[in-house]
């Protein structure tokens, strides 16, 4: 009898130790159950789909940021790259060539991301500072691209619905659901990058570079190349997020996306990634954005008297600290 109980506990510990995502996943499920029980209007497809939709834009950026964080670097310029990608896409849509816009929205921010990487590896300045500076510069680039004004289109192109339109299949099936097709794109991107991270040699390199740079170099990993590629990916995904933003609002402003960088980093950490690098997962990134989005909605729906509806920020802040502490505790216990 005693033996059985011990193995059960050890199993759980094993589970948590194996993956960095177990802790965050547990938190997500726990918060979901709590909210469903105590928050009015929470347990409905309408609310759940709202939570998921709110998470997609940040989620795409967080994937790139997480990948980069695992390799030990930061990217504070993703917010500006969202605007750059959004404008490139939107302007091509205005000329009725959305596919060209899509390509540009990937390539140019990707290139700018690679520039971040090059600055990092060639000059040795910490990526936090380098991307702080380039973030400002890229914002200026977005301003030049925009001609100083906002871009708003009223004609609906079919491509908007492909990326961020009503997810009819699911919405007709589930009563009250309002899922958007961006959900599929987000899931797809998560799957692709998680696969790359854990099943390819490149993924191994990413972990190695973040964890122990000397050991990685000794093993023949081209550290510089890995970092530059990760920066490029982070940039390209930010541009991709710009495409989604434009599809959702058909509007792009020079200031679009600002503030996303810190939210993305926070989501990555809530999802289990280590700031120091070497640990994390793309599933964790997804969990992180979902958790924050869930808490945001829960706070508004709870209608707590002394917390006005627009004050979910504070809850997000507490979550970040709490989740970081919890993840740390789990990591230490296993």
């Amino acid at each position: 009898m005693v033996n059985a109980r011990l193995t059960w506990q050890r199993e759980i510990r094993h589970l948590f130790a194996e993956s960095s995502v177990a802790g965050p996943l547990f938190t997500l499920i726990f918060v979901f159950i709590l909210s469903s029980l105590f928050v009015p209007h929470f347990f409905s497809w309408r609310t759940v789909s709202g939570i998921v939709n709110a998470a997609t834009l940040t989620g795409i950026v967080t994937i790139g940021v997480t990948l980069l964080m695992i390799s030990g670097e930061f990217d504070l310029s993703v917010g500006s790259l969202i605007a750059v990608g959004g404008y490139l896409f939107g302007q091509q849509c205005a000329h009725n060539s959305p596919l060209l816009g899509l390509a540009l929205a990937f390539l140019i921010p990707g290139f700018l991301g690679a520039l971040n990487g090059l600055i990092r590896v060639r000059t040795g300045i910490p990526s936090f500072i380098a991307t702080l500076g380039t973030g400002f510069i890229f914002r200026g680039a977005a301003w030049i691209l925009s001609g100083g004004s906002m871009l708003q289109l009223t004609d609906k192109l079919p491509i908007y619905d492909i990326f961020n339109g009503r997810f009819n299949l699911l919405d007709d099936l589930l009563p009250g659901a309002n899922f958007l097709t961006s959900l599929l794109w987000l899931l797809g991107t998560v799957l692709v990058f998680q696969y790359v991270l854990v099943r390819t040699r490149y993924g191994n390199h990413v972990f190695a570079v973040g964890g122990q740079v000397e050991a990685a170099t000794a093993q023949g990993v081209n550290v510089e190349r890995v970092k530059v590629i990760n920066f490029a990916i982070s940039g390209a995904l930010a541009g991709f997020a710009g495409v989604f933003t434009f599809c959702q609002f058909q509007t792009m402003r020079v200031a679009s996306g600002s503030g996303t960088e810190l939210t993305a980093i926070a989501s990555a950490v809530v999802g289990g990634a280590l700031l120091a690098g070497g640990s994390g997962s793309i599933w964790g990134a997804l969990i992180g954005v979902l958790l924050i989005s869930m808490l945001r909605t829960a706070v508004v729906l709870l209608n707590i008297p002394f917390i006005p509806a627009d004050n979910f920020e504070a809850i997000v802040g507490v979550t970040i600290v709490g989740a970081a502490i919890f993840n740390n505790w789990v990591r230490q216990r296993t």
């Binding site: 600055i119 000059t123 040795g124 300045i125 910490p126 936090f128 500072i129 380098a130 702080l132 500076g133 380039t134 973030g135 400002f136 510069i137 914002r139 200026g140 680039a141 301003w143 100083g148 020079v254 810190l262 980093i265 926070a266 950490v269 700031l275 120091a276 002394f306 917390i307 006005p308 627009d310 004050n311 920020e313 504070a314 809850i315 997000v316 802040g317 507490v318 979550t319 970040i320 600290v321 970081a324 502490i325 740390n328």
Partner: protein, 333 residues
């Protein structure tokens, strides 16, 4: 070729332990540039603008630079700033004595710093993440106590306001347009000198450098690193609160978005001033010069009638160039 190499090496050797050099040179260069290229730059109002508007954030920057030398970040200074102003205004409106109101505000902001420090040292969560979280949490508190709207002090300004941030009208009125010099500049300079002295000439200052540079070695040498870090966080909080109170003495009102973005400007100023992100290296003076540089840039661009949107991009460029120079000169990579 060889003489150039030795020249560069000499440069590095000479300036390795003067972190402020890049910021001074940059400031001088920019000053000369604007004197020539921008009309009305060398006027009393323009110079006064730069000094006065840099002084408030400058006080915060002083604290942030010390913390950075100790090896930690504080991204919550902006939110802390807002809360301190709200506490100050609301206490005054509730009829509390002005000095007591100020002390309450300082207590709260130092307390927030304490919370930051305790979380970082007790749980081991990196300060970047901790203060990212507290930044949001404190912002929420600012919104909550302000009921999500402005708080304005409408009564007669007490004498304390004059002590904190009176306009130097004796000098200001001499010019046309009247210059904008205020007492906050004196506070800024005073605090900068005091902190630089503490940093460079006291054992506590040594401890700060040691804690940031090599915590392990510091610990083994008997430096109470945890206490040093917590005290640095409290210091940042206190200085932020003081800056906030000073600003309120002039502006008389605070809004829920006050101070947003301050943390990144502070980091930029510190880094331009020679601080290393990894800790253990930097200077209060350099950070102050960095702040003046950023403010000078803004005023200069306005004087040149350039679009304000390029201010950010130019700041970013200067930041990167300054960091590269600093890294190179200090010999770290």
């Amino acid at each position: 070729m060889e003489s150039r190499a030795t020249f560069l090496a000499q440069l590095r050797y000479r300036f390795a332990d003067i972190p402020e050099v890049v910021s001074f040179v940059s400031l001088l260069t920019l000053f000369i540039f604007f004197s020539i290229a921008a009309g009305n730059f060398l006027t009393p109002m323009s110079i006064a603008n730069i000094l006065t508007f840099a002084s408030i954030t400058g006080i915060v920057v002083i604290g942030v630079s010390i913390l950075m030398i100790a090896g930690e970040f504080d991204l919550s200074v902006g939110s802390n700033f807002a809360v301190a102003s709200y506490v100050f205004v609301l206490s005054l409106k509730a009829g509390m004595n002005p000095i007591l109101s100020m002390l309450t505000a300082l207590l709260v902001s130092a307390g927030f710093g304490l919370i930051n420090g305790l979380i970082v040292t007790r749980t081991g969560i990196p300060s970047f993440i901790t203060t990212l979280g507290t930044m949001l949490a404190y912002r929420g508190i600012a919104r909550a106590i302000g009921s999500g709207t402005f708080a304005t002090y409408t009564g007669a300004p007490p004498a304390l306001f004059g002590v904190l941030n009176a306009p130097l009208d004796a000098i200001n009125q001499l010019f046309n347009p009247a210059s904008t010099l205020r007492v906050s500049i004196f506070w800024f300079i005073l605090i900068a000198i005091v902190m630089q002295v503490i940093l460079r000439r006291t054992r506590y200052g040594n401890w700060i450098f040691a804690t940031g540079g090599n915590p392990g070695a510091a610990l083994s040498q008997g430096v109470p690193t945890k206490w040093v870090k917590v005290s640095a966080f409290v210091l940042v909080g206190l200085l932020t609160g003081f800056a906030s109170v000073i600003q309120l003495a002039y502006r008389l009102s605070v809004d829920p978005l006050r101070g947003v973005g301050m943390e990144l400007i502070a980091v930029a100023a510190c880094v331009i001033g020679g601080a290393q992100l990894s800790g253990g290296y930097g200077s209060v003076l350099g950070a102050c010069v960095g702040m003046l540089l950023i403010q000078m840039l803004e005023q200069g661009l306005v004087l040149m009638h350039l679009p304000i949107e390029i201010f950010q991009a130019v700041t970013g460029l200067i930041l990167i160039i300054a960091v590269i120079s600093n890294t190179y000169l200090s010999g770290q990579k």
